[in-house]
């Protein structure tokens, strides 16, 4: 997966690139709108991360040029101004998602992955199996090692999110937004409690442990490295 990052802030750009590379992407980083414009139109990328506040050619023009050229490359734009107009403008011009600075890197990563997945539509899987955990999506059932586990609606939704995004670190804000549709930072540790409760049902009595806390970033569901086949 090849990404283009257009970011005039040198330090931010460098960290973005490093973070994305370490998450398994190929990354081209450019610091000017002109370079970004050129690259976006001449090369193929799977996704473009675009700062809209560029000193020369602003991000909006790049999005516009891209859409004018009938390119459907997903664009995620970064903005420092969380004004409604900005947001609306970006999405109207054909950008796919946005993040307001300062953002948490794990949030960016999660959104990048969501956008990349959107392109190749996931099959409406009936069942997902990870190690000895089986999720029966239509029946909203979870089975772990042949034991049927009773989950509340939200617990199932949370588990489904973690399973569908297996191996991805999901920040708390994303979990709150996806499972409960709460798009704000709560002063509480409500997500931690919810995950703890889910973990008690899914993981406590079973091996291998699937739900992992990634400190400082969020939660991830995956088979531990040493247990992977």
């Amino acid at each position: 997966m090849k990404l283009l990052v257009v970011e005039d802030e040198l330090k931010t750009g460098e960290y973005l690139r490093q973070g994305l590379i370490e998450s398994g992407f190929l990354v081209d980083l450019v610091h000017t709108g002109l370079d970004g414009h050129h690259r976006a139109l001449t090369e193929h990328y799977d996704l473009i991360v675009l700062d809209v506040m560029l000193p020369d050619v602003d991000g909006w023009r790049i999005v516009q040029a891209l859409r004018d050229a009938q390119s459907s490359t997903p664009v995620l734009f970064l903005t420092a101004r969380d004004s409604v107009e900005d947001r609306v403008k970006g999405l109207e011009l054909g950008a796919d998602d946005y993040l307001v600075k300062p953002f948490v890197f794990s949030e960016l990563l999660a959104r990048v992955r969501t956008l990349l997945r959107r392109g190749n539509a996931t099959l409406a899987q009936e069942q997902i199996q990870i190690a000895n955990l089986i999720l029966d999506i239509p029946r909203r059932r979870a089975i772990r090692g042949n034991v049927r586990i009773n989950l509340t609606n939200k617990e199932f939704a949370l588990l489904e999110l973690l399973v569908r995004r297996q191996g991805e670190v999901l920040p708390r804000s994303l979990i709150a937004s996806q499972v409960w549709d709460m798009n704000f930072d709560s002063d509480t540790n409500v997500i931690d409690v919810a995950v703890r409760r889910l973990r008690a049902k899914i993981d406590d009595a079973f091996e291998p442990k699937l739900i992992h806390t990634v400190r400082g970033m969020g939660y991830m569901l995956d088979i531990p490295e040493q247990q992977k086949p």
């Binding site: 948490v104 709460m182 930072d185 002063d187 509480t188 409690v193």
Partner: protein, 480 residues
């Protein structure tokens, strides 16, 4: 003093000019009237004089017997107007032959200059000049008393009016100078009065100039201010009141921000410096980075909360309005907090008519309600429950979040919605936010034109949000 600034005449100039012009016009018309009436008076006098002379002449003629000689007639004429020394006259027959003329007079030309009139009055007398002298004059006819003279007689009568004219002329000059002087006095007086009248305004300006951002406690002195300027001074003082209040809040806010940010920054710096002071294991470094990350997250949240509040202060927040079912919203929040509140053994009970709606921005309303609910849960003792109740009446909608818990002392109650206000200082930094939560709730409620209040008695605390159906706020209305 400048009379003309940027193409605009000064008030003093305008007032002086208009009042001066008015007074001058008045004086001029007054002078004209006086002159005219004196002149009329003179004309009347002259006409009387002429009529008296005419009467004398006519009675003289009547006394003449038919057979008297012309010489005798002349004699009679010579004594005819002896009482009227200013008048002179000339008697001629129809052919213009002079029968008698007042000695020294030269009225021959008058006979041909003006037509005879029947009566002598203001309208028929004529001004006539001869040899540099001016006369008021008239010509009239009379039937000749003797056949020796052809009838009718033509009599030219004139009275010399030079001394009247001289008097008028000097009076005119006198009046002109008097008028000019009076106008000047009027203008100067007006100017002085206007200038003097503006003195309180200048005094107020001086006082206003003394008020700087460091001197916002100063007020205009309202004593000795003329009643016309009282509203201005009072309005200005009110404005300064509001400015001072705003300024005070702003500077408190900046101070709070600085203080609140200094603490985590100090922590980060100390921690980093200590970490760098000697070599450590990778695990230790990781720990330090994690701990740093937590501080950063706290700061990020604080900054975005403050940004939200700053925007709310400047009316930059525009709610995206939709109709929201309040009970449903509260149920979803209860669902969201369920795991957390259950862990604290606190239940969240939602009650109310499911049909009650309010027009609001969903994300903002959720944020406000969630702050209230999480606060309530936090202060509720284990085993109790938080009540979230939606009620409606004919005027609007009320959402009350009620929880049992320690009574908030009345002195704290009024400050709860202030930024960075924490009733209990010991709760400062144990992960419960920066003390902006309730301030944000208030901002959101106000952005929707609602009101919020807190009450706390006998171990029960209630936060109540009120949305009125009829509301002056432009972009908010509620329905029920």
């Amino acid at each position: 003093m400048k009379f003309w600034i940027n193409g605009t005449p000064s008030l003093t100039l305008r007032l002086t000019l208009s009042i001066g012009a008015g007074i001058s016009l008045l004086l001029l018309s007054f002078g004209w009237l006086i002159e005219r009436s004196i002149n009329n008076h003179f004309v009347d006098q002259d006409v009387d004089e002429l009529n008296a002379a005419r009467k004398s002449i006519e009675s003289t003629i009547e006394l003449v017997a038919a057979g008297e000689s012309i010489e005798f007639l002349k004699n009679r004429f010579s004594s005819a107007i002896s009482g009227h020394h200013n008048a002179e006259f000339l008697v001629a027959d129809t052919n213009g032959t002079v029968i008698y003329a007042t000695p020294g007079g030269n009225l021959t030309r008058l006979l041909t200059d003006i037509p005879p009139t029947r009566v002598i009055d203001d309208n028929t007398v004529s001004l006539w000049t001869s040899n540099g002298q001016t006369y008021r004059s008239a010509v009239f006819e009379a039937i000749s008393p003797t056949s020796q003279i052809q009838s009718p007689l033509k009599i030219a009568l004139a009275t010399e009016i030079d001394f009247h004219l001289h008097y008028l002329e000097s009076f005119h000059a006198y009046l002109r100078w008097l008028t000019i002087l009076a106008c000047l006095i009027a203008i100067v007086t007006t100017w002085l009065a206007v200038h003097q009248g503006h003195a309180p305004i200048r005094r107020i300006s001086r006082q206003i100039n003394a008020i700087t951002s460091e001197q916002l406690h100063l007020r205009l002195e309202t004593q000795g201010v003329p009643s016309e300027l009282m509203p201005l001074a009072a309005a200005f003082n009110n404005m300064i009141d509001r400015l001072e209040d705003g300024f005070q809040r702003l500077s408190n806010f900046s101070g709070d921000i600085a203080h609140e940010l200094r603490t985590p920054i100090t922590n980060l710096m100390t921690q980093t410096q200590v970490a760098l002071s000697k070599a450590r294991t990778a695990t230790e470094y990781r720990e330090i980075l994690y701990s740093g990350l937590e501080e950063y997250e706290r700061m990020t949240k604080m900054v975005s909360d403050m940004l939200f509040l700053a925007k709310a202060d400047n009316q930059l927040i525009e709610p995206e309005l939709t109709d929201i079912y309040l009970v449903n919203e509260l149920l979803e929040l209860a669902d969201f907090f369920e795991a957390w509140s259950e862990a604290r053994q606190v239940a969240i009970v939602v009650a109310g008519n499911k049909e009650i709606t309010v027009t609001a921005d969903r994300a903002m309303l959720r944020r406000a309600l969630s702050n209230l609910i999480s606060n309530a849960v936090r202060y509720t003792p284990a085993g109790n429950s938080v009540q979230a109740v939606v009620q409606t009446d004919k005027d609007g909608v009320t959402v009350s979040i009620t929880n049992p818990g320690p009574t908030i002392p009345p002195e704290h109650l009024g400050h709860l919605f202030k930024r960075f206000y924490r009733p209990d200082p010991s709760r400062r930094r144990n992960g419960e936010g920066a003390g902006l939560g309730l301030a944000i709730v208030k901002s959101i409620v106000q952005a929707h034109g609602g009101k919020i209040k807190a009450t706390s008695t006998n171990g029960v605390t209630v936060f109540q949000i009120r949305f009125n159906t009829v509301d002056p706020h432009p972009y908010q209305h509620t329905t029920d």
